[in-house]
Amino acid sequence: MTYIPAPKIEESAAELWQRHSLAPGFDVEKLLDNLGLRLVWEPIDDEESGIILGQLIPGEKLVVLNEKHIEKLEHKQGRLRRFTVGHEIGHWLLHANLGRSGALALIENERTWCRDGSHDPLERQAEMFSAALLMPRDTLGAALPDLAWHGWSWVFGLCDKFLVNTTPMLIRLEGLGWMHRDEHDVPTAGPAPVPGQRTLFSS
């Protein structure tokens, strides 16, 4: 198993962002073109373990998006498609060379299968890469309000700016320690209070 530390994944996405002069909500398909990766929409049969949104075929430099889930992928300006393409780019940059040399167990039949909600560590790395690519730390940080914020409207506003779904945005903000859920599960600025902190100030 190849372990790639999170900072390395962040760095790899940031480097891509800089090299291609990307901006929030950038066109992921144009990025595929610039990386020399081809794109095709084709129906792919799902598996019992989960639905398949996309595939990477490293030997053909080809990203396949599952036409069977086009509605889901294209919903709300293609937010899930953008995340899936970012995920495949992650596999291409982080894992594809390993796969070509036969060291990557994830690549079955010379394809990387991207299953929705997979807990495979390499899938998680590709997911982290996609999040870092679509919501880079610096750019996302600059888009946050200066003052402490509370409520869903800020999160929805960020989702519209970065063209991502709410769940990956929440995970990203929480992961960066820039947000936590309050006792009513409402997004709130800042990291989660350390255990016991609340009780110290409560009556």
Binding site: E29, G36, L62
Partner: protein
Amino acid sequence: MGDEDGDEEKTFGETIRRLRGERGLTQREVAERLGINFTYLSKLENDRGERPGEETVRKLAEILQADAEELLALAGKVSPELRDRAKRDVQFARLLRHLPNISDDELQPIYRRLKITPPKK
């Protein structure tokens, strides 16, 4: 686009994809201008799916500022005029069947007469 291996163009799909990249257009932009679904264009660029009709190829050539005849040839499209004549004229159909076996040298006078630039050797 960043993966060109050389000047050789083998297929219709590779050619339209390369031309699209050179024009700085995305699949979606070309598909919209062409009036086809972007999923279909993605298949064409990868030499999958059914080949488009002559009219679509001509319009695609216009969008990509390409030689329509070259794209039609790569798409394996034969003009309706040629097809019609071959249907009603058996000798002409025979001639067409022999054409692939004629050497470039033998074709030179025909190219000259029709003012067509001969293929590079």
